[in-house]
Amino acid sequence: MEYRLKIANEILPVQCQPEVQGQFTLSMGGRQVVVAAQRISSHQMALTIDGRRVMVYTSGRAEAKEVFINGRTYTISDADLVPQRRAKSSASAAPADIAPPMPAVVIKILVAQGERIAKGQALIVVAAMKMETTLSAPYAGVVAKIHVREGDKVAARQILMDIEKDSEHGST
């Protein structure tokens, strides 16, 4: 079985050959190791990698998992499964969108629909766990639509506001 696994923005080609029950051979980066896995609970496994024992903890599904080993958490996704998912959810924001990085509450909306705004102008204040963050305009334009009201709870990467970009400011 071949996988393309994504860890910390890097894609690693990986080969996995199942052997006897609970055991497989893993090939990555020109190295081959034998892995024996023993499930302890739905989130905990004891692995033996080339004879070395290590306890690992996991959460999530094949398309994206969190893996905890000795105090470090790795987020690993299957590069071949992730893009299909993305395509389905159009709500997922691009970097230029007016969207909070984490779940938050809308504290203050600083502009009105139809208002002309400058690049970098403060648009909306959100707060998560008492920390306030101001989202500002990525480019000059006009506020086309505001999707939320003050006091609303919003999800991570949810688009809060549409900005119609000024055409004279180029096409970047």
């Binding site: 609970g22 496994m45 903890y57 470090r72 958490t73 790795y74 766990m129």
Partner: protein, 496 residues
Amino acid sequence: MFSKILIANRGEIAVRIMRTCRELGIATVAVYSEVDARALHVLSAHEAVALGPAEPQQSYLNVEKIIAAARQTNAQAIHPGYGFLSENARFARACRDHGIVFIGPPPEAIEQMGDKIKARRIMAASGVPVTPGATVDTTDEAAWAKAAEALGYPVLVKAAAGGGGKGMRVVQDAQALPAACRAAASEAQSAFGDPTIYLEKYLARARHVEIQILADGHGHAVHLLERECSIQRRHQKIIEETPSTALSEELRARMGAAAVAAAKASGYVNAGTVEFLLDPQGRFYFLEVNTRLQVEHPITEMITGLDLVRLQIEIAAGRPLALRQEEIFGRGHAIECRIYAEDPENGFFPSPGRIEFLKEPAGPGIRNDCGVYEGFEVPVEYDPILAKLVVHAQTRELAIRRMIRALQEYVILGLKTPVAFLIDVLSADFFQKGETYTNGLDVHFAQWKPAKGELETAVAAYLADTLLRGAPGPAAAGDAAIVEKSLWQTLGNWRL
């Protein structure tokens, strides 16, 4: 002694206070907001009273509702924990007016010390050194600029009603001042209901050293040594330890005496903390008095063997404090790491969400004050603290090793935590040498990224979990052995 206490707080501190109440045979009442109906502090109490919507103003900050909850349940006393109403004089007064004992200082002392501007004046008047600073009219932008100019940049903008780093900003130059002051005032307004701010000279290479004090209602006060809290991010402490590597016996005695003098000067009763900045020359400056139990109080409990919550309750019940200063000494070294729901790779931005898996560390010298459990949805409305991991060992070096070991065992999946970041800080040369200054993280850990780490093991774990779990998509935990067997048998259906 009281037979029932209401705890006007949530999370780990409410759970921690309830533990001591149980040991003292005191019944406990929890209060909670809508989003906390299944929170650990509610599950840990004998009784629980719903306060209302999640917004703090309508729940944990609502004086009337909390007083009503205490009356309804016949609680004789209220412990406010830290944050929320713990330093709110109006609340302490409302308790008194309703014949309920507020477990903390009298409202007059909270008022004096809680207003950081007033507190600075009182300290200066009683001979305690204070940092150079200036008070300004919060609405007058020109006055801010003038005051900052006079102090010299960088300056620190602070909330008069502040605490926990809320409403605090370092300002490097005049250009950044107006925005920083406005943001600080707005944050102070929402956190404390008071937008008043003031300016202080910012000392970059200083330590934050605080002295724990205890005063009874009969005029007796002692200090319980120091806590070093220099390791901060966003002006909020993240690692604390005691003893401080910077204090000689002589300096410790002097700072302790200054703290006790400050307590007596302000008519202080109950537990409190006098915070100082300590410069590399060993000069210390008064910062503020926290008129409550501190988040980091457990490290003091570890080295002194005292239960601060028990002492708070006894003092509030009117008992004289039996401890004499010469009986108090520290044994060994204690460190606390705060486990927040936040992303150290992303500017420590809060990371609320569901805890998918939780395994707390255990073993010799380890204490974990935890306010959450596996399956709990960490709400977006409140402070991001999940737990406080505390270790105690014979020496500082052993305590650091113990903390690293405990963090390596601390599994929290489902949201971001600083566990890996904390391990790296504790392992860093500057920390191990005890060269801990308040700007330490900015200097050494500004652009922290996790090390690449054990990629091969991580990939092996990913694959093993996928193979042992079955086809992509949700899989019931179920009977692991059966799942495992059937999966290896159906591997033929996999991508080959």
